[in-house]
């Protein structure tokens, strides 16, 4: 990417930081009523002092600075579509809030050239008592459209939302699908020079999502500067040539979106295996680790999963099932280890591992979590959320796909052909 010259920069962030003050209760238990009273008295004194000094009150008796963003530097060229990715709490939303002027930065500066509109939520300010027609004007005005502008696009918005028949019905009577369609339709017709979009595509049915993605593509191709936050790596890769990855409030990578997405998935995996805690599965048997042997699980590829254990006393495993759950907690698949002839397994004190090789894991991309159901002669239990895995999409796929959340869980190997039927004379 060639360095853009000064005139072509739409957004420039320099040393940007955003600090919040958070409070906690101190860790030790409160032993007596007297302690509890003195503690709340001191909290009241402190908050009174803060009121007098004009500072906000923070709950809890200890306060701490929390930097949601720190030392953020980046530039977005005019007309560029930039993706922003990162785990929950990485600072994505805070960054968007700062850029869209909702909250001011605590340090550093941002220069923005052009009219900014932010779309951090679908249907901001919709009022349930008002009709669809009224809400279009209300929501449009809130997003920064003028009345004439809304009027000019009114028919287009209504057609996009497919709510013609219900225009004069209060939106509280709308189905959730209609509501979301209408809300997105208004937002989609917003035409600022710089558009800041948070995860708004994760709504509506498949058909509508496709429409939204198409609309986003139009916007992105229309020479407008777009900042787009999503957890949908497929959408990021297909919409944004470049991406920024945030982690812990800092930019950890920036560049071509394919590279940044892979880097994100690497970190994601590293982090999730680090944070997994050991679990006591059985008396005398500790489940130490569950990990996949490859860093990235690509949909349809081989996947090896290792379960490592530490035993203090001898015992026997009679049953072992590897369970795969979707991010929403639906059990997607189970691998019954009994089928492979290694159970029942008698273990002695010491460490051992069970390696499960899945020949092909045809999961739709997204977050999944692994669990294990273990059974011994005395005891059996299911342990969920032992490890998270991230499945990435199969890049061989040629068309723009529907978002992952509408494609179910399994990618089926399938084929289709058109057969012309000859009329028999």
């Amino acid at each position: 990417m060639p360095e853009p010259n000064e005139a072509d920069i739409a957004i420039r962030a320099q040393g940007l930081g955003k600090k919040y003050i958070i409070g906690h209760q101190s860790a030790e238990r409160v032993p007596t009523l007297r302690d509890a009273l003195t503690r709340s008295a001191s909290a009241i004194l402190r908050s009174t002092g803060e009121i007098l000094r004009g500072k906000p009150i923070v709950a809890g008796d200890e306060t701490e600075e929390f930097w949601a963003l720190r030392d953020i530097n980046f530039e977005v060229a005019r007309g560029e579509v930039m993706g922003i990715i990162g785990r929950n709490g990485a600072g994505k939303s805070t960054l968007l809030k700062v850029l869209s002027r909702i909250t001011e930065p605590s340090e550093g500066r941002v220069e923005i050239k052009g009219r900014v509109a932010s779309l951090l939520e679908v249907g901001t300010g919709f009022h349930p008592e008002l009709s669809g027609r009224e809400n279009i004007f209300l929501n449009g005005a809130i997003l920064g459209m003028g009345r004439r502008e809304i009027k000019a696009k009114f028919d287009e918005i209504v057609a996009f939302a497919e709510v013609e028949r219900f225009l004069d019905t209060p939106v509280k009577r709308y189905s959730s699908g209609m509501y979301v369609r209408l809300a997105f339709a208004v937002a989609a017709h917003l035409e600022p020079e710089i558009l800041v979009v948070d995860e708004v595509l994760a709504v509506g049915d498949a058909e509508f999502q496709k429409k939204c993605l198409g609309k986003m593509k139009d916007v992105a191709g229309g020479g407008r500067t777009v900042l787009f936050v999503s957890h949908n790596m497929g959408a990021i890769e297909s919409l944004c040539p470049r991406a920024i990855q945030l982690s812990g409030g800092q930019v950890v990578s920036i560049g071509a979106s394919g590279v940044v997405v892979l880097d994100y998935l690497d970190r994601w995996r590293a982090e999730s295996s680090r944070t997994m805690q050991q679990r006591q599965l059985e008396p005398g048997l500790v489940f130490e680790n569950l990990r996949t042997t490859t860093d990235i699980v690509r949909s349809g590829d081989v996947c090896e999963i290792e379960l490592s254990f530490a035993a203090e006393i001898p015992g026997v495993i009679t049953d072992c099932q590897l369970l795969i759950y979707s991010a929403t907690g639906v059990r997607v698949a189970a691998v019954d280890v009994r089928e492979f002839g290694i159970l029942p397994f008698r273990y002695k004190p010491g460490r051992f591992l069970i390696r499960v090789k899945i020949e092909s894991l045809p999961l739709v991309e997204g977050h999944y979590s692994l669990g294990v159901a273990l059974g011994s002669s005395q005891h059996g239990a299911t342990h969920e959320n032992l490890c998270d895995i991230q499945v990435v999409s199969d890049l061989a796929f040629s068309t723009v796909r529907y978002p992952a959340n509408v494609r179910g869980f399994i990618e089926l190997a399938a084929n289709a052909e058109v057969v012309s039927l000859k009329e028999h004379p």
Binding site: P56, R101, S106, V110, R115, G125, E149, A152, G222
Partner: protein, 295 residues
């Protein structure tokens, strides 16, 4: 998508917001005062109108109740005040003005002030979903929330004219100056509203304080009685309450027999209102940028 691109160009041409400022560089920095604040506010006037319209539309959606409330509340209060102050306490009216009209002429501005105060001070909290998700000059929210109070005021004013017809007590030329009195009332209401709305975001304690202030204000303001019953030596101090100046000016405009305006008191009331407005705007501007973090 050929049609779309045509519309896009049209969209840019008709974009109302910040027409001239489109090419200016916006700098976001900690504690930086915005130079274009007031022009931004003007650019967002449509949002102001639409938020005001929304509140009115929602209130009058169930139109029977919404409308009845604007009529019943002042009527009942008027009846009670007339009974307590006029009959039981036997306080004098102004000139030959019927006591109910005296009360009503005081209640008109009082309800305007108090509803602006109570609706405005919680307006930011009630619109927290907007404040957390979109940028606009926050000043719009508390100011727009007063639109409902103004619509209610117009209904009550119509009621007042009906009462005048019933009591056969027509207004004189001074009615022309009523708009000035209304502006005085809005200035008096706006300062405290901005201050309370801003403080309410930071310290929710003000949620409890505002209803108390409104209730208390009803008794210390000359709503149920004429301010001329206040002993001369207390009169100036009494006028420290901005509502006194507002109510006096309303009575002067609406009642042909009204006592002449007590100018030192009026001046003081207006001065206090203006100072409060200045303080309110200052407090609001100073805290405005942290609203989204606190709300």
């Amino acid at each position: 998508m050929g049609v779309k691109s045509v519309n896009e160009t049209a969209g840019f041409a008709t974009a109302v917001q910040v027409p001239a400022g489109a090419k200016r560089t916006l700098v976001l920095e900690s504690g930086r005062a915005e130079r274009n604040y007031w022009s931004d506010l003007w650019a967002y006037r449509e949002l102001f109108l639409i938020l005001g319209w929304r509140d009115v539309a929602v209130q009058y959606k169930q139109s029977v109740i919404g409308f009845a409330w604007a009529v019943v509340r002042p009527l009942l209060t008027m009846a009670i005040f007339t009974f307590v102050f006029g009959r039981l306490a036997r306080l004098p009216s102004e000139g030959n003005a019927p006591y109910p009209l005296l009360v009503m002429a005081g209640m008109l501005p009082w309800f305007l002030l108090s509803s602006i105060l109570s609706q405005g001070s919680s307006s930011l909290i009630q619109n927290s979903n907007l404040i957390g998700k979109v940028y606009f000059p926050r000043l719009i929210v508390p100011v727009a929330s007063s639109v409902v109070a103004i619509v209610d005021f117009i209904v009550t004013l119509a009621l007042f004219f009906v009462m005048m017809a019933i009591w056969q007590y027509p207004p004189d030329w001074r009615l022309i100056l009523l708009p000035v009195a209304i502006i005085v009332a809005l200035v008096a209401a706006l300062g405290p509203v901005l201050m309370l709305a801003a403080l309410n975001v930071k310290y929710r304690d003000f949620r409890f304080i505002v209803p108390f202030v409104v209730q208390f204000g009803l008794y210390i303001s000359p709503v149920g009685f004429s301010s001329s019953v206040i002993p001369e030596k207390w009169r100036l101090m009494y006028s420290l309450n901005p509502a006194v100046g507002v109510i006096d000016s309303f009575r002067w405009c609406l009642l042909a027999d009204a006592a002449p305006i007590y100018w030192p008191g009026m001046g003081l009331s207006v001065l206090v209102s203006v100072i409060l407005l200045w303080l309110g705007v200052r407090t609001f501007r100073a805290t405005e940028k942290s609203f989204a973090d606190l709300i």
